[in-house]
């Protein structure tokens, strides 16, 4: 459709001249929720692997901060690590896109990322665990106990009081225990979920759940998070991972709020010396400030690892990793790009991954329009000049 100079078309572009099924580079490079590709820097992958593996193998808590300038891959690193861990059945992973205005927001995001269905499943797992102790049945997992309850094999009333008692002892938070168990009741599960995610519920709704406290400040949120972690560990999970991205946004808080947030995180770490792994993504300048001003918090983070701008070799590897999945020609390597072109891209992007991907994406489309077979520096220069 052409009108007043606009040409709008949904015609599929044909990248076969490059031996490609499509342009694999994102036009707007934001990290996928489930990234397939990770072209990492060895020291970062080592540090992340070491932290995660230590928590898994020893059960002891360990935390890490990944620093790096915008576009160098902090979010991608966190999300890629999360996607690796999510495949495991013995851990729980929650992703917090940014810390908001305090720990209450972090807790809210963590629970929301786990999701209602998942936490309800955890509630059923708790009932299954209780059923194994209190009845002759041996249900493994949430589906098995749900089926036993639905078919009337086990009385819900046999399970609920001991489940609340046991979780209250484990979590040291009776209100939390009641909220979790209420997730299995269709009349009250939404109120329970609202309370558990710190969204706030009315007094009458709390009363119906027999919950006495409001989950509306950082202290209560730390308590609820610790309860959740303890519940998961009790149910046999090895560890709880919390990935907190864009941690640098705490610098936008008032000094008092920033201090409160960091103190809450410190308390969280102090109260959970086992089974917890916090992975932060943070801009280096903010992390430097935290290091110098909030020792009590920063000293509890075991390690910092910094994402560096890419080298030429890493750019080749990155481009190859993006191209390979969409090739239909059997070719390998960086073709249709040339080394010279990618060195030009590296120079323009200063090794920033987001820039590299964005430029590559535009160059590939420009080369297609110009009916090139290989993508030389001239095309790249045209693209950069046109921006």
């Amino acid at each position: 459709m052409t009108q007043h100079g606009f040409t709008i078309s949904d015609q599929k572009r044909d990248y076969s001249r490059f031996g490609l099924e499509e342009n694999p580079f994102p036009y707007s490079p934001v990290p996928d929720d489930e990234p397939d590709i990770y072209c990492g820097q060895e020291h970062v992958t080592e540090a992340v692997s070491d932290t995660v593996s230590t928590v898994l193998s020893t059960g002891k808590s360990k935390h890490l901060v990944v620093t790096g300038k915008y576009g160098n891959g902090k979010s991608h690193t966190l999300k890629y690590t999360r996607s690796l861990l999510r495949d495991r059945e013995d851990v729980v992973v929650g992703y917090v896109a940014q810390p908001g205005t305090g720990f209450l927001d972090i807790y809210h995001e963590f629970m929301a990322d786990l999701g209602f269905d998942y936490v309800q499943q955890v509630a059923y797992e708790l009932l299954a665990d209780v059923a194994r102790n209190e009845t002759e049945y041996n249900p493994i997992g949430s589906a098995a106990i749900k089926s036993l309850i639905d078919e009337g094999e086990i009385l819900l009333s046999e399970l609920v009081p001991p489940a609340i008692k046991r979780l209250s002892e484990t979590a040291k938070f009776a209100d939390f225990a009641r909220a979790v168990v209420h997730l299995v009741y269709e009349d009250t599960n939404l109120y329970a979920w609202q309370w558990l995610t710190a969204e706030g519920i009315r007094y009458e709704q709390r009363k119906e759940l027999e919950i006495h406290s409001a989950l509306d400040d950082d202290t209560m949120a730390v308590r609820a998070f610790t309860s959740m972690k303890n519940l998961l560990i009790e149910l046999g999970y090895d560890a709880v991972f919390v990935f907190i991205d864009e941690f640098e946004s705490i610098a936008r808080l008032s000094t008092k709020d920033e201090q409160t947030t960091l103190n809450s995180l410190r308390h969280l770490m102090d109260q959970n010396n086992s089974g917890l792994c916090l992975l932060f993504g943070c801009a280096p300048e903010v992390w430097q400030d935290v290091m110098s001003e909030y020792h009590a918090f920063s000293e509890r983070i075991g390690r910092e690892v910094a994402l560096q701008p890419l080298t030429a070799e890493q750019v080749y590897e990155l481009v190859e990793q993006y191209l390979n999945p969409v090739r239909n020609s059997g070719k390998q390597g960086i073709a249709p790009f040339t080394k010279e072109t990618l060195e030009f891209v590296l120079q323009q992007s200063q090794g920033n991954i987001r820039q590299v991907l964005a430029i590559c994406s535009r160059i590939l489309d420009a080369a297609l329009r110009q009916e090139q077979k290989t993508i030389g520096v001239a095309v790249a220069e045209d693209v950069i000049e046109s921006v």
């Binding site: 639905d150 009385l155 009333s157 609920v160 009081p161 009349d187």
Partner: protein, 346 residues
């Protein structure tokens, strides 16, 4: 709509459901002062009695032991259909003073057509510990009763089920289906939450969907709830609303609920053509509690008859109920919620 009609084959005759069982206070402090209605209201050959009260009223129980029949004691025909519940509301909440086997023996001696298992109603408080204990206890009593209910006993056995959430109600009925042998289920503890229409209808629906067997609802058959219960597929219900309202000088009228008589100045003719009101003045009804009780019962039966007429004449029941509840915001909301639940919209 889940409304249904069935026939109950009982030792004292067949009964077409859905049916109202008026609560008789036989055995209570005043003995049975419920005005005569069996025989005068032809489609109401039924009564709900409290077996424990009769057993505990020594002179009456002695007469029954000596050969007087319960129906003679109640001064009703021998073919009156009697549902004997355990009198759960009178039990000490910590536990009944009677065993399931003893209760069954009493119900059998009363020659009841339907037996309700021993139950302890739930309290509105103590959700976690105490109510769950009571729920478990009631289930245990029901199973014990089922084990004692002989195959040659033609009377029906209804398991009393209690729960304040749909899962518990469903779970209890499924459990009892597996562990006992019951002809139906009787849902209790609803009178305490009767003003929470949404919750009440959800519980009834949970029971209705958990079993195709007969479903009775204890103590919830007032003139407002009656059409809702029918709409939700309840097969029988008992009520003392006609007595309680008369005690408060409330004149019941289908579609209008109750109106206190002292708020009505003067009427030459009453708005109801029932045998009680048709030939009497307002002042005569005003001063005679028994007349008011009988009229109130006629009102409830009229409501039941109208619903049956709508269903039998293939009219739109939901449109009828829209009309029925239009003047009362609370019951209108309740009916809308019930309609959505029936259609599985919520």
């Amino acid at each position: 709509m889940l409304y249904r009609q069935r026939t109950l084959d009982l030792p004292h005759g067949d009964v077409e459901t859905p049916i109202l069982l008026p609560v008789r206070n036989v055995g209570k402090r005043s003995s049975d002062n419920t005005p005569e209605y069996v025989g005068t209201i032809p489609d109401l050959p039924t009564a709900m009695i409290n077996a424990r009260s009769i057993y505990q009223r020594a002179p009456m129980w002695e007469r029954l032991q000596e050969g007087v029949t319960l129906r003679e004691e109640m001064e009703v025909p021998e073919d009156t259909i009697v549902f004997a519940d355990s009198g759960g509301l009178d039990f000490d909440p910590t536990g009944p003073d009677i065993t399931p086997a003893e209760m069954l023996s009493i119900q059998r001696h009363l020659d009841a057509d339907i037996y309700g298992t021993i139950d302890i109603p739930l309290s509105r408080e103590n959700w976690v510990e105490e109510n769950h204990r009571r729920v478990r206890q009631n289930i245990e009593y029901a199973i014990q009763t089922s084990e004692k209910h002989r195959e040659d006993d033609a009377s029906l056995l209804f398991a009393s089920v209690h729960g304040y959430d749909p899962e518990t109600v469903r779970n209890n009925i499924q459990h009892l289906e597996q562990r006992g042998d019951f002809d139906g289920y009787a849902l209790g503890s609803l009178s305490l939450i009767r003003t929470d229409y949404k919750k009440t209808t959800r519980l009834i629906l949970a029971a209705r969907r958990a079993t195709d067997k007969h479903l009775h609802v204890y103590g919830l058959g007032g003139i407002t709830y009656l059409p809702l219960l029918l709409y939700l597929g309840v097969d029988s219900f008992d009520s003392s609303a006609f007595i309680r309202n008369a005690g408060n000088r409330n004149y019941l009228l289908p579609g209008f609920g109750g109106k206190e008589l002292h708020n009505i100045d003067h009427l030459d003719y009453l708005p109801c053509p029932c045998p009680v009101c048709g030939t009497r003045t307002l002042d005569e009804i005003r001063v005679d509690r028994n007349l008011l009780v009988r009229h109130n019962l006629w009102s409830m039966v009229t409501e039941l008859r109208r619903f049956r007429y709508i269903a039998a004449s293939d009219k739109d029941v939901e449109a009828y109920l829209d009309l029925r509840f239009q003047d009362n915001e609370v019951t209108q909301r309740a009916y809308r919620a019930a309609k959505q639940q029936v259609r599985r919209l919520v």
